[in-house]
C-alpha cells in the first residue's frame, strides 16, 4: 500500500523512513522533557506515596496484632484471677463447713455433758431428799409407833433404851418387807 502511494505521488515525495531534522528535534524535545519530568518529579513522589502507604499498612497491622496480643493476655489474666477467686471461695466454703461441723460437735458434747451433769445433780438431790425424808420419816414413825404402842400396851415405856431398840427392829422389818414388795 505504502509503495503504491509512493508511486502515485511522483518524484518529490519524501521518504517516510527518513526523519526530517525538525522531526527529530521536536521528537527529542518531547521525549527528553517527559523523561526528565517522570524521572525527577512524578516517579519519586509516586514511589514515596506507595512506600508510605505500605509502611502505614504494615504499621497498622502490627499495632492491631499488638492490641490483639494485649487483649489475649488480659483475658488470660482475668481467667486466672477468676479461677483463683473460685478456688479461694471453695476453700472458704470448705473451711466454714468444717468449722460449722466442729462447732456443732462441740455444742452437742457440751449439751450432753450439761445434761449428764444436770441428771447427776438431780439424782444426788433426789437421793439426799430421800435420805432426809427417810430419816425424818423414821424418827416420826418411831415416835408415832412408840406413842401408839404405849397407848396400846398401856405401859409406860419409860425406858428409852428398850423402846428405841424395838422401834429399830420394827423399821428394819418394815424395810425388808418394803424391798421385797418392790422386787415383786
Amino acid at each position: 500500500m505504502i509503495s503504491r502511494i509512493l508511486a502515485n505521488t511522483g518524484e518529490a515525495t519524501p521518504n517516510p523512513l527518513l526523519p526530517a531534522s525538525y522531526d527529530l528535534l521536536w521528537s527529542s524535545v518531547a521525549f527528553f522533557v517527559l523523561l526528565a519530568f517522570f524521572w525527577f518529579k512524578v516517579l519519586p513522589n509516586f514511589k514515596k506515596t506507595l512506600d508510605a502507604r505500605t509502611e502505614a499498612i504494615e504499621g497498622r497491622l502490627e499495632a492491631a496484632e499488638k492490641a490483639q496480643a494485649e487483649a489475649a493476655a488480659k483475658t488470660a489474666n482475668i481467667e486466672a484471677e477468676q479461677a483463683e477467686a473460685r478456688a479461694e471461695a471453695s476453700k472458704i466454703r470448705e473451711e466454714a463447713r468444717a468449722e460449722g461441723a466442729a462447732i456443732l460437735a462441740e455444742l452437742k458434747e457440751q449439751a450432753s455433758s450439761e445434761a449428764a451433769r444436770l441428771t447427776a445433780t438431780a439424782k444426788a438431790q433426789i437421793e439426799a431428799e430421800r435420805q432426809a425424808a427417810l430419816i425424818s420419816l423414821r424418827a416420826e414413825v418411831g415416835s408415832l409407833a412408840i406413842d401408839l404402842a404405849s397407848s396400846v400396851v398401856g405401859a409406860s415405856l419409860k425406858n428409852d433404851k428398850i423402846a428405841s431398840s424395838v422401834v429399830d427392829q420394827f423399821l428394819a422389818e418394815l424395810e425388808a418387807g418394803d424391798k421385797a414388795g418392790k422386787k415383786k
Partner: protein, 277 residues
C-alpha cells in the same frame, strides 16, 4: 490552537475523489521554515500532547505530594486513576519482566515511552487533531534509540565487555556454527531490534491514518460529489461504517502499540541483564 486546524489535506481544488497520499504526513510548515525548529501541524500536535501529559501528571504528582505531606494514605478517585496508570507500567510491565529492583531502576524510561507513545498515538482518532504524533518516524526513532542505548547500557553495566561476546557467541552452540549464528545474532540483536521498534510503531500509525482518511474521504465523495447519483450514494453509508469501525480499532491499536513498544524495550533490557550473558 488555530494552527492545529490547518487543513491536513494538501489538495483543496474542486471535486473528484482524493486518495490519501504520503503527503498527509508532511503538512504545511507554519513557522520557522527551513530551520530545525520548523513547526507543522504534527509537530504542534506533539507539543500539545506533551503539554497535556505534563499537566495531567503534574496534577497527579501534586496529589501524591499532598498525600505524602498530610500522611493520608487513602487515595481519592483522581489520585487512584494516576496510581492505576503508573502501576500498569510499574507492575504489569517493569516488575513482571525485570523484578522490583531493576524494574524501578528502569521505570523512568519505560513510563516515558509508554505514556508518550500512548498520548501521541491516540491523537490519530481525536477529532480536530486526526493524526498520530507517532506517524512520522522521528519520535519512534528517538524512542527506539533510547531503548537501544539503555539495553546496551544495562548489559555492559552488569556484564562488562562480556555482554557483547556472550550476545554474539551464545553458549552451548558448537564452534563451527558460529559462522552462521554470529552474523544472525549481530543482525537481530544490534540492528533489527531498534529498527523494528521504530518501524512497527510508525507503520501502524501511518496505515491507520491512511485507512481512516480513505474511508472518510470516500464517504465524503459518495455523499456529496455531483458525479455520484442515485443508489450509489448508499456506498457512502458503508464507508462511513468502515470508518467508524476502524476508528474503534485505532483506539485499540494506539494502546496496543504503546504496550508493545514498552514491553519489547523491557524484554530487551531483561535479556541484557539475564545471567546467560
Amino acid at each position: 490552537m488555530n494552527l492545529l486546524f490547518v487543513a491536513a489535506s494538501t489538495d483543496e481544488s474542486g471535486g473528484g475523489f482524493h486518495a490519501p497520499s504520503i503527503m498527509e504526513f508532511y503538512p504545511e510548515i507554519v513557522a520557522f521554515e527551513g530551520t530545525p525548529f520548523a513547526l507543522n501541524r504534527i509537530m504542534l500536535i506533539r507539543l500539545l500532547v506533551l503539554t497535556l501529559l505534563i499537566v495531567v501528571f503534574a496534577l497527579w504528582t501534586s496529589k501524591f505530594k499532598q498525600a505524602n505531606k498530610s500522611g493520608n494514605h487513602i487515595p481519592g478517585r483522581f489520585q487512584l486513576m494516576g496510581e492505576i496508570s503508573l502501576n500498569f507500567v510499574r507492575k504489569s510491565i517493569a516488575h513482571e519482566q525485570l523484578g522490583e529492583k531493576d524494574g524501578d531502576r528502569f521505570l523512568p524510561l519505560l513510563a516515558t515511552i509508554f505514556f508518550l507513545t500512548l498520548g501521541m498515538n491516540i491523537t490519530g482518532i481525536i477529532p480536530g487533531l486526526n493524526i498520530a504524533g507517532t506517524s512520522v518516524i522521528g519520535l519512534p526513532i528517538v524512542m527506539a534509540i533510547a531503548a537501544y542505548v539503555v539495553f546496551i547500557y544495562a548489559g555492559v553495566k552488569k556484564h562488562g565487555g562480556h555482554f557483547f561476546t556472550a550476545s554474539l557467541f551464545p553458549a552451548g552452540v558448537p564452534k563451527p556454527f558460529y559462522i552462521l549464528v554470529t552474523p544472525i545474532e549481530l543482525l537481530s540483536t544490534f540492528i533489527l531490534r531498534p529498527v523494528t521498534l521504530a518501524l512497527r510503531l510508525t507503520m501502524n500509525m501511518i496505515a491507520g491514518h491512511l485507512l481512516l482518511v480513505l474511508c472518510f474521504s470516500a464517504t465524503q465523495f459518495f455523499f456529496f460529489d455531483s458525479a455520484v447519483a442515485g443508489f450509489m450514494k448508499l456506498f457512502g453509508a458503508g464507508t462511513l461504517l468502515f470508518g467508524f469501525a476502524f476508528t474503534v480499532f485505532e483506539i485499540l491499536v494506539a494502546f496496543l502499540q504503546a504496550y508493545v513498544f514498552t514491553l519489547l524495550t523491557t524484554v530487551y533490557i531483561q535479556l541484557a541483564l539475564a545471567d546467560e550473558h
